[in-house]
Symmetry: C2
């Protein structure tokens, strides 16, 4: 640690006790590398406030000492957003001790929680009150609410209730000068200038440290059903989704995948079975829910709405889960895609991209063809959240696969995918953020935008002490 | 005009024709004063781009010449947000010529429009396509979409679909450096750092000039009904609203008013009649809608849900409109409140304030009592959007009324109301913005916040050329 870091740690311990700062290398080590093992950093200490007041005091002390801080929740960033710099120039500030559910108000359908609350914990707490927090994603057992806010997280249930931005009613954060921004009053209307809440959502900790969040809740799921559709193409999937949306607002999930990805799951993941009998170029998982006992049961709803689409030929074949176990089995196929693809197909570049929803089917087709033409032998395909215009587009090494393909050719493939996305008016980061992973690409493709982001960053954090090296 | 302003006007005319810059004093004059006649400014010219490209070019020329610009739509700001400075140091940039409905997509339920489109024009255009833009307010015949975005406007239909922020899917704007921010691609997910769209909403033109907006549409109203409730108190009104919300999502309006305000309307506005027979301390107007023919008719819905609340004693009495004409008659009472109060009660300070919804009934009671105690003889009361926690709180001169009461005592009354709102965790501007009217008060009450707003403003508009003198 630098003398300034050392001094900061001592002051923090003196004021808030030994637990407030970890310096044991073995305890720090797990938090220096992102969960997928791609980025490695160094940090001499982890500061651990137990309250908003402590967090604010720590930031003020850090500002006095000129020590940079990397805020960390569950450390589940997909883009290295919570990994400290490699040179040890920053300390980690972990929100893990701030894990209190402050309040759940079932009548007003909202919760107020510490930023360090794990998503699964939040789910359980609001479910116990007969409600639901609808956002969910693979890392829910580790990801924290503060991290979800700071990355404006998405997931598999964005279709109906939106991403994190749509579910946040207010934010409490320590700004880079150590003042506390308190947006938790829950005002439904407040027009006192630029919204700091909105600015902090998706800011990846570069404008301050989120310490508390007020969240919107929705009615609990009374029952659900999952349909599995066989489809000719992504366009047929989108047409089917639009047809369903015109008839019900109870579709909450709509995920697509190509046949080859399904096959990879079936061959790799034990206990999985094909949902449909025949072969279909594309598949979609459709989840519908009921939030009360009086509503038409979701399986009946899906059967009633999907049957005419099969008759019309828009959908090739369909089956609907007849039990919760079967619904879970369908979701397990979707949730195992990344793992199965990795195991079956070998190295691939992965791209969390979005284009306007209506353009996605055409984009998937044309982008795949162009990439495969430019890099003969690779195979490009996508799966995921079609209804959000957000696909995880993977380019597999295929015949070009060698042990160092990712390292050698991966960056060129990634640049090409990003160029195609940008030309289509899309985003090179739909839901994972920029972090360290996409920083250079963002600047290459959107220099005007980065200039503006940097100006905002410099205005609030002139010394660059908040999550240095991320985003801008 | 200064030489720089003169030069800018000449360059604009040379490039974009005579219509692109108005310099005739008589043509400029109506746009120098806000619509309620409170603020008066000076400007030697009005620039009038007819396209985004022209607007961007004008901003770049203005930056080169160091000329400040005041963006103006319908000039219906309630807080002097579109009035040029009194010293003539800025020119007006009017969006009036940019009044094109660019596209309406009924399938995707969205519209893309120029910023200068008047709200009523937008309503008519989407209604013709069988859809609806739900936000509405008194100035809809003049207010433009760009102005509504820049003030994050509210109105009487916020309850179900939210304010402007909730209805904007993307923004196109000229930033202070003359670059075009294009957020119109309509990406449902885009996590490339701080959201410039969100930053521009409610920025009052101080961070750039909104030129185009992509808006969310909702199903058209198939039928509606309006209930008029007699109530003991604002708390009874809120309890009634919560009870209704627990049973339906089809309540779109919930406005409250005290008996004295109703009496003022009945005595002042020709043709108005009391909705209920007896006297009630408070009243509420409740609007419910159906968006299709199959839904339970709104009048039946309201009758079915309200009857048990009357039986329980939560609501003293209720009547439900039996025709569209009667629904309009009920709304006319609500919409005439300001006019009737002005005519009946004489001078009053008016406060567009919000507190957390649950606190509003208590706040209305305690704030009125405290203000009346501090200024004996005045009468304080509120009416409006209870379901949003947003009341227009008026303090009438009462026995203290003299011709110069507003001027002499008004500011002290306003400061006291703002102090009470701030102590209650509320906002001194719920839906009207800050403009010039509340700038000093915002700084007095929220200096930390203003410091941050100023830093952001300076980072994007270092020369202070965008709507100078407003907000910060």
């Amino acid at each position: 640690m630098t003398p300034a870091q050392q001094s900061l740690v001592e002051q923090v311990r003196a004021r808030f006790g030994d637990r407030a700062a970890i310096t044991d290398a073995a305890d720090i080590e797990p938090w220096l590398t992102d969960w997928r093992g791609r980025w490695h950093g160094q940090a001499g200490a982890i500061l651990q406030p137990s309250s908003t007041e402590e967090a604010a005091a720590m930031v003020r002390l850090a500002v006095e000492q000129g020590v940079a801080l990397v805020p960390q929740g569950g450390n589940t960033s997909m883009v290295g957003g919570a990994t400290p710099p490699a040179d040890g120039s920053a300390l980690i500030l972990s929100l893990r001790r701030m894990n209190r559910i402050r309040a759940i108000d079932p009548g007003a359908m909202r919760a107020e929680v510490d930023a360090g609350v794990v998503l699964q914990t939040l789910h359980d707490a609001v479910t116990a009150k007969g409600l639901r927090f609808p956002l969910t994603l693979g890392a829910k057992g580790s990801a924290t609410v503060g991290g979800l806010v700071s990355t404006n997280a998405g997931g598999t249930q964005v279709l109906r209730f939106g991403n994190m931005r749509a579910l946040v009613e207010g934010i409490e954060a320590i700004l880079p000068d150590g003042t506390v921004h308190d947006g938790l009053a829950g005002l439904k209307k407040d027009n006192r200038g630029y919204s700091l809440d909105q600015l902090l959502i998706g800011a990846e900790g570069t404008l301050g440290i989120v310490t508390g969040v007020r969240l919107k809740l929705v009615p609990a799921v009374h029952s659900r059903a999952v349909a599995w559709l066989g489809l000719a193409s992504p366009q047929a999937a989108l047409d089917g989704l639009r047809a369903l949306e015109g008839l019900t607002n109870r579709v909450e999930g709509f995920e697509i995948l190509p046949e080859e990805s399904l096959k990879a799951v079936l061959s790799h993941i034990p206990g999985t079975r094909p949902p449909l009998e025949g072969n279909h170029p594309w598949h979609a998982l459709v989840e519908a829910i009921a939030d009360n006992a009086e509503a038409e049961p979701p399986a009946d709803l899906l059967a009633r709405l999907i049957a005419p689409l099969v008759d019309k030929g828009l959908i090739q074949d369909a089956t609907i889960s007849s039990s919760e176990a079967q619904a879970q089995a369908f979701w397990r196929i979707r949730d195992s895609l990344s793992e199965a693809e990795r195991a079956t197909f070998g190295p691939a570049t992965q791209h969390d991209i979005s284009v306007p929803v209506e353009s996605m089917p055409r984009f998937m087709d044309s982008a795949a063809r162009e990439v495969e033409k430019a890099f003969p032998g690779v195979h490009a395909s996508g799966f995921g959240h079609l209804g959000d215009g957000n696909i995880h587009f993977h380019v597999r090494a295929g015949e070009r696969g060698t042990s160092d393909w990712l390292e050698n050719e991966g960056p060129a493939v990634t640049r090409m995918v990003h160029d195609l996305v940008t030309a289509a008016g899309g985003s090179i980061s739909a839901e994972h953020g920029i972090g360290v992973m996409k920083k250079d690409e963002l600047e290459r493709l959107s220099p005007d935008r980065v200039r503006i982001l940097r100006a905002i960053k410099a205005s609030l954090d002139p010394d660059g002490l908040m999550n240095p090296g991320k985003l801008v």
